[in-house]
Point group: none
Chain length 242, copies 2
DNA sequence: CCACTTCATATAACGTCGCTATAGCTGTTA
DNA sequence: TAACAGCTATAGCGACGTTATATGAAGTGG
């Protein structure tokens, strides 16, 4: 690729943009500042990124891949609920470590770019939740659980970013985290077969079966039968009345 | 004040700015657009508001007072927990009714203006929670409860705004709302369901669901559907395909 | 009725912004 | 060498936020 002597203009632009974006606290950063800091003239920026927004997108994309990397680096502990806590805390930590990036990613006004970020984060969280569902630890579908958890996670992180670093009370995060988790999952470890408390156990069992069926399809049912079966299962899983 | 014939330029500016800000979906609105729409020239804007930001601040302040008005118009029902639900739902409703205003108020990048908005909303919510605390329904301080609830409330509203209006699932709001409330208050709603230690086998899950269905029949399926569903469930339970 | 002050609006322009038409430079390939 | 492709630089355009200056309107004292 490139020698170590000096980074290519493209990389210099990326770094300059990221640095300036991080320094100037939310105030807009001009292309002229960036190109000057990268010791490059304007057309170079537009040759490589097409747009000012294209450059910022590249910066954000880098930050986001860093976020996903951090998420992926969290091992599966075997205790699905504990995994959920880890991912929640990791999300908050990333937001506090990269507040500017985080605000662009999740607090952004633009109703176009945000969804892709949110969707990716949501999809990842849903994977973790699917494992919890497979262990019959969820009382709602992984999809619903992921949306609720992520929404609360973002809300908490935004609030923590908004207040001065000195006064930050991480108890807010832990408290809200436990609230959402306890609403989405069951945290004890007994057997659902012996659980006869009523409808919630039906939902739990249905969700668990649904998750298990995603992994291995039974051969006792034809594909058309299975299709209808899954549809009904989905209906049972989606809690309507409590 | 003013006759009804035609609003003063100051008011025309405010209305034009609000309208343009609402129409142009998040994209920046130029002072020239605003002054043209208000049939006014540039210096008039700066005479009345000093700044473009000053004008936008005035628009936001108006929207925010509208929000606080809506909050205040919610009567005290005497059931503190039910009041919390009303205020949560009102918050979400305001966000969905005025998405652009809401994004500026609560999703804003600026780490200066947001806190004042959040602080006001938080203070108001804290009042409601104080009444709940007086009724011995809180398990945490009203301050902590307000922060947690508001964070989750904002997160949920942002997520609902972000997705297309047609696909909006308000269940996300209700579910997260109950999660936070049950973590913050003693409503005896928290129904900790016991469950398994996690064997992700289709057979085990099917058996669990089967057992659960013996106790309570779900109302999402008709009786004929349920009959066939149970039959298939039996088939899956009998012997697994892997 | 006329200065005189005061507030509100308009004319015209400045500096900076994002962006680009065009041209020049560099290295590779033939 | 010649031809070509990929980057980068010169110079400038139109649009933006903003303002120095001037003009109009409305009240007040003589």
């Amino acid at each position: 690729m490139k020698k170590g002597g000096e980074p290519a203009p493209k990389i210099r632009l990326l770094r300059a943009a990221a640095a300036l974006l991080a320094e100037s606290n939310g105030e807009p950063v001009s292309t002229r500042q960036i190109t000057e800091a990268a010791r490059v003239t304007a057309p170079t920026l537009y040759h490589h990124f097409g747009d000012k927004e294209g450059l910022f997108d590249a910066v954000v994309a880098e930050g986001f891949s860093e976020y996903l990397e951090a998420e992926r680096s969290i091992p599966t502990s075997g205790q699905p609920i504990e995994d959920l806590r880890m991912h929640w805390d990791n999300h908050v930590r990333f937001g506090l470590d990269h507040p500017h990036l985080y605000l662009v990613m999740f607090g952004n006004i633009r109703p176009e770019r945000r969804p892709t970020m949110v969707a990716s984060a949501e999809a990842f969280l849903e994977e973790v939740l699917a494992r919890a569902a497979a262990a019959a630890r969820l009382v709602v579908t992984p999809h619903e659980a992921a949306r609720s958890m992520l929404a609360a996670n973002i809300g908490v992180t935004l609030m923590l970013i908004a207040e001065p670093a000195a006064k930050r009370n991480l108890e807010l995060s832990a408290m809200t985290r436990e609230a959402v988790i306890s609403a989405v999952a069951t945290d004890s470890e007994s057997d659902p077969v012996t659980d006869t408390e009523g409808t919630p156990s039906v939902v739990v069992a249905a969700i668990a079966l649904n998750a298990a069926l995603q992994v291995s399809h039974p051969d006792q049912l034809s594909s058309s039968e299975l299709k209808l079966f899954l549809e009904w299962l989905q209906r049972i899983s989606s809690r309507s009345g409590s």
